[in-house]
């Protein structure tokens, strides 16, 4: 059981971590909006200049926040195969100019990087608290909080199930494998229903009537 991976750097200490969560959320979303919707504003006449300026700014924030750069780069790089595929297809059909290829590659990379900076400096619960203060519906917040809480338990369960499958059915392929897979999902589903019932009963005893706050 080693499940702190989701927002594992959110509890570091740094000038960025110390900001209020409203400030971090607002700046992350406005930076993303600038990158995705308003990039020409940064260009000053050269398409590459804008994207490089944005990257430089991101790197400064990353260094100040003391999050390991290898983590940020390797996680952001997961999106590169998608954008690389699009760039390659357009390279062969001759639709993109050089600038456009570079911008396409870096745009998705930098937007993942920006989101990673947000979730690595702000704990998920703090993000939820802020969103509910900004008027996100209670039901959505409550569901999100439950989801985050039980994700780890489900993860343990699926790991145990996968191990059981490897022991018993590792050589099974094709149609049989699909059947095994759907039985696993079925078991997981039944357990989720049962757990939801128990959780509800336990919470009802403590006064829960549909609202966490």
């Amino acid at each position: 059981m080693n499940h702190a991976f989701i927002d594992r750097y959110a509890r570091l200490k740094s000038p960025i971590h110390n900001l209020k969560s409203s400030q971090k959320l607002l700046s992350a979303f406005s930076m993303l909006a600038l990158l995705l919707l308003g990039l020409p504003l940064l260009n000053f006449g050269n398409a590459l200049f804008g994207i490089l300026l944005y990257g430089f700014w991101l790197l400064m924030i990353a260094i100040i926040s003391r999050i390991p750069l290898t983590f940020l780069f390797s996680r952001s790089a997961l999106v590169l195969p998608f954008s690389a595929l699009i760039v390659i297809v357009n390279f062969y059909s001759g639709n993109f100019e050089f600038d456009q290829m570079i911008v396409t590659l870096f745009k998705s990379f930098f937007s993942v990087f920006t989101l990673l900076l947000l979730t690595s400096t702000t704990a998920f619960n703090d993000i939820l608290k802020q969103l509910s203060q900004w008027g996100m519906p209670r039901l959505l917040i409550t569901i999100l909080a439950f989801m985050y809480r039980y994700f780890f338990l489900l993860l343990d369960e699926i790991e145990a199930l996968e191990r059981a499958v490897q022991m018993r059915h590792s050589s099974v392929t094709g149609w049989k494998r699909i059947k095994v897979y759907s039985n696993i999902i079925g078991v997981l589903l039944i357990h989720s229903f049962e757990r939801a019932e128990n959780v509800y009963q336990a919470m009802q005893m403590r006064g829960f009537s549909g609202d966490l706050s």
Binding site: F29, L36, S108, L189, F193
Partner: protein, 203 residues
Amino acid sequence: MHIPDGFLSTPVTLGTIGVSVTALTYSFKKVNQTIKPEQIPLMGLLASFVFMIQLFSFPIGVGTSVHLTGALLLSILLGPRAGFIIMAVSLLALSLLFQHGGIFSLGANLLNMGLVGCFVGYGFYRLIPGERWSLIIAGVGSGIISAILCALELAASNMLEMSVALKTMMLIYGVTGLIEGTITLLILDFLRKIKPELLDQLS
């Protein structure tokens, strides 16, 4: 396929967000009127469940792997509106916590996977008689509609030519849809065999 941020143009981004937010508000109003308190933890746990099955792709041989979206299963179990809300929650969490699909492209992803999977898929399921075929057709049918939408979004953003985008997306979503239908069918069979009272109590 979860579209990452940076692929869609401004009009496409804003348009898809508009459609998804409208659908979400509508589902929300309806669900809020009828929801019982004991269903709230259930929706949270099912969101976690969908989140999980979207993270674990499973190999089907020949070097390809797919994962379910869970939209069809949820709509059958809880109804399309509650299913759509759960899809929205888990896609938001996938994007924030695992960078699986972007935040600004969440509107497009929710439209392609959630809205089509829940409402169109469920529509096919209810309209076509005979459970076996209706589930397969629901899977493939909503897969094809998702593929067309996804191709249109990418082509309108000048990212891919329409013909290329349509071919690729048809392949991805067609296979996923077929498997989605089949596995949903198998799961429902499994539930009927192991815990039939669960389905009775829902319907």
